[in-house]
């Protein structure tokens, strides 16, 4: 070494500094987390503008999800292969103006619950009397989720039950009960799906239905002939379930048209949702796939083409588990939130926040999750955008946690060595080491990211009261008690349904819209409201399913901040009609029917 002693000493110090850098960075982030300590209600209200209180017991909802038990050949890895099924969807099934909720259960013989809103802060389970409870009978598979849409335009929301097993369609008989209409509808005998979404893809005024398969539909998970049923790759798997697009023919009949419409994929779909992403008037379909890239099917007026790679959302393979749309920058454009897996030291995929790029000739997205602070959420599942503190900016609620069993023993080592192996090994369940009561990303803290309005989100979950550590799956947002605030429902795998009752700083104002289509589908699914107030704007849409196995309240909730002056609401109906509503005042619910 030619350099003198001084240079060598300097280099040694520099080297020590480099080694210390990761420690300094982790200290700084630990301090940031500590600063976000639990606050009481008044402190949380003062600092963040809202506070959440878990009230499921007081509300009379004592639901505990039961997981499925599949074929005994999978016994060693049963916690993993049966790790989904808890879901929640919000629906006003009896049209009394108060949101109700439907919860799925997943053990053979277990009951699903339909909780009717009793208008006094409580709910009552009426699934049995309505005919929606006993839907997990042996031989028919078990429930994985539910989406609601008025497929026959009679004014009442009908139910499509997503299952690993026989998919079911129930007709809502004017809120007095439900009739099972599966056979007449033309649905296939078996789909192992975790996602479905109602939307009118061809603009004919009738709601169509997309169903995304997860496991292959050829598998009866309770009677397996082979243990080769796992994904062939952790990131490039194409041996999952097929996709179905059911075109609504009217009179309760559906025709499967996926291939004809250009939707063909055998990736492992976990979440799907639709939105008109290009302002064409046609809803596009985004699918978040486990074990692979996301897919974006752009709708060219009844025919789709896959543009995941072209738009930038479908290149890096991850473990997609959620699709939620939100106009997070108040620019009249949707960002898309896709949840993935992050586990310290083993796998850091990071969640994706796909934000449309400005000034591009065609639709292009860039992932701004890291820049905006919503990237790391553990083993993330369901997430939804909603203005939780009514400040006029959309916030993000994320639930997470995969398998919480032992508090001291982890399955991650075994998971990582098999997941990185060749397809011949990973695809065979018999090659996977047994779980033996170990956890896999269990007992995780949730994320409640509030949007500061300047392209940054800050996690305030612990401070505002979202302190549970269950294995969260499905999140749905809705104003459960018509108070002008968004409450949060969280369905947990092998855990309770949580109701986070929201209390918001009353200075922050709001307005809500309940839409009803006339020429468009009566559920108004796909209708978009752009609200203009105080020189700001925000777009929201009525969705036929979003997040992970979830559906928010169809009513659209806009937070407005203080001293709001609403200029107008511009409604784009799925029929193409544009309707302007003026003379709106904050603090009111508006029922808007599509102009004839």
């Amino acid at each position: 070494m030619k350099a003198n002693l001084g240079a060598r000493i300097l280099l040694a110090f520099f080297f020590v500094g480099l080694l210390a850098t990761p420690l300094v960075i982790s200290k700084i982030s630990a301090r940031r987390e500590e600063a976000q300590a639990k606050l009481d209600e008044s402190q949380a209200l003062a600092r963040y503008g809202f506070h959440l209180q878990e009230v499921s017991q007081q509300a009379g909802v004592r639901f505990i999800h039961q997981a499925p038990t599949l074929d005994a050949k999978l016994a060693g890895i049963m916690p993993e292969v049966s790790s989904m099924g808890a879901s929640v969807s919000i629906v006003d099934f009896d049209r009394d103006g108060w949101p109700d909720m439907y919860l799925t259960n997943s053990a053979t013989g277990s009951q699903n619950h339909l909780y009717r809103n009793m208008h006094d802060g409580t709910f009552q389970d009426v699934a049995g009397q309505m005919g929606l409870a006993d839907v997990n009978q042996a031989g028919t598979g078990v429930s994985m989720g539910a989406v609601w849409g008025d497929y026959d335009n009679d004014g009442y929301e009908d139910l499509f039950l997503i299952k690993w097993g026989k998919p079911e369609l129930f007709h809502n008989d004017q809120g007095r009960g439900f009739t099972r209409v599966t056979e007449a509808s033309g649905l296939p005998p078996w789909i192992n799906a975790n996602t479905a979404v109602w939307f009118d893809y061809d603009g004919d005024g009738l709601l169509d239905l997309f169903v995304g398969g997860y496991y292959s539909e050829k598998l009866d998970l309770w009677h397996l002939n082979t243990t080769r049923m796992m994904p062939e790759s952790f990131e490039y798997a194409k041996n999952g379930g097929r996709k179905f697009l059911f075109h609504n023919l009217g009179h309760g009949r559906f025709e499967e048209v996926s291939e004809k419409a250009g939707i063909k994929s055998n990736r492992w779909a976990l979440a799907a949702s639709t939105a008109d992403l290009r302002g064409t008037g046609h809803p596009d379909l985004f699918i978040a796939n486990d074990y692979g890239v996301s897919e974006l099917f752009l709708n060219e007026g009844g025919h789709f083409h896959e543009a995941g790679e072209a738009t930038g959302v479908g290149f890096a393979p991850k473990s997609g588990m959620n699709v939620a749309y939100g106009d997070i920058l108040n620019q009249g454009k949707y960002a898309i939130y896709v949840s993935n897996i992050s586990q310290d030291g083993v796998l850091i995929q990071g969640n994706n926040l796909w934000v449309p790029r400005e000034g591009e000739a065609s639709l292009k997205y860039e992932n701004l999750a890291r820049d905006m602070g919503v990237e790391l959420g553990g083993w993330s599942f369901g997430a939804q955008f909603g203005d939780l503190n009514n400040d006029g900016n959309l916030d993000l609620y994320l639930t997470n946690g995969y398998i919480s069993l032992s508090r001291t023993k982890s399955y991650w080592y075994d998971f990582s060595r098999v997941a990185g192996g060749n397809s011949k090994i990973i695809a065979d369940a018999a090659d996977w080491p047994a779980f033996d009561g170990r956890s896999l990303s269990g007992y995780q803290q949730k994320k409640v990211w509030i949007n500061d309005g300047a392209a940054k989100f800050i996690d305030v979950a612990q401070a505002v009261g979202a302190t549970d550590t269950y294995d969260g799956r499905s999140v749905a947002l809705g104003d459960l008690w018509n108070r002008g605030v968004l409450d949060v429902l969280v369905a947990n795998q092998r855990g309770p349904l949580l109701i986070y009752r929201n209390t918001v700083n009353p200075e922050n104002q709001w307005v809500e819209f309940a839409l009803e289509g006339a020429k468009s589908n009566r559920s108004a699914i796909g209708a978009q409201v752009t609200l203009y107030w105080n020189g700001r704007q925000q777009v929201q849409q009525v969705s036929g399913g979003s997040g992970f196995a979830a559906q928010n309240d169809r009513r659209l909730h806009f937070g407005l901040g203080k001293n709001a002056q609403i200029e107008k609401a511009l409604i784009r109906w799925p029929s193409g009609k544009v309707q302007v509503v003026e003379n709106l005042v904050p603090g009111k619910f508006y029922n808007v029917r599509e102009a004839e």
Partner: protein, 284 residues
Amino acid sequence: MSHQVRIPDTAQPVKFEAWKRFFSPANRYLSPLLITLVLLVGQLSYGILESYTRTLLAIGVSLVAELILARIFFGHWPNLASAYITGISVGILVRSPAFWPYALCALISITSKYVLRVHGRHIWNPSNFGISVLFFLASGAVAGLSIQWGNFVWPMIVIWVLGSVIIWRLRRFHISATYVVSFLAFAFLRSWITGDPWQSEISPITGPMYQLFIFFMITDPKTTVRSKTGQCLVVFAVAAVEMLLRLHQVVYAPFYALFLVGPAAMLLEMWKDSRRARLLVAHA
């Protein structure tokens, strides 16, 4: 019996000689070419990288650090082949959504060559040092490459065959082969001990992380002992330590095993060399 008369073909031997020269240990660019090929095939086929920019950052930082440090401490402009391999290894093996781990890892790797020296030799493989340190100290921000390159067995076979041929031409095939045989033997032993399926024990070596480890890390001429037997013993020891770490469910067992065994072997060799030198002096 008829005699065949061969017309001498002067073009053929020249061409063959050129190829031979290209695939000779003297060609310092063979390993960089192979790793570049591996990277391009993996990325263009399956998008294995976190992003091009992160990998380029790691390569860029490696090259710049090497240029500066070699100039300051050795007084000359260095050959950049080794720094390039370090940068590209970091760019492939480190997985992080952030940029800083790529720059930091490359910087730690290259700087370690100039700081951690004994008798004028650096004793850790640079990328092994940088990656091990990062996995150990920055586990919240960094993970390792733990995925396949596609679903098919053929890309894996092509890389194994191509890598083996090149490593053989570089006269280091015995190192890789000994490690693979040792790993497999220890995998079956682990399976017997833990009761886990043997497929899950051999699974890691079927992934790309191990291809990089086997072809580029354990064979690094600068940080391996000199004798052929010694080299084989060292990688056997690496596989043995790795087995112990795996029994304790350490995810990045191979990197940590090399981190522990590699320098120890180098120090042992240096000690033996100095003892031999002392004995020679005494005899003289």
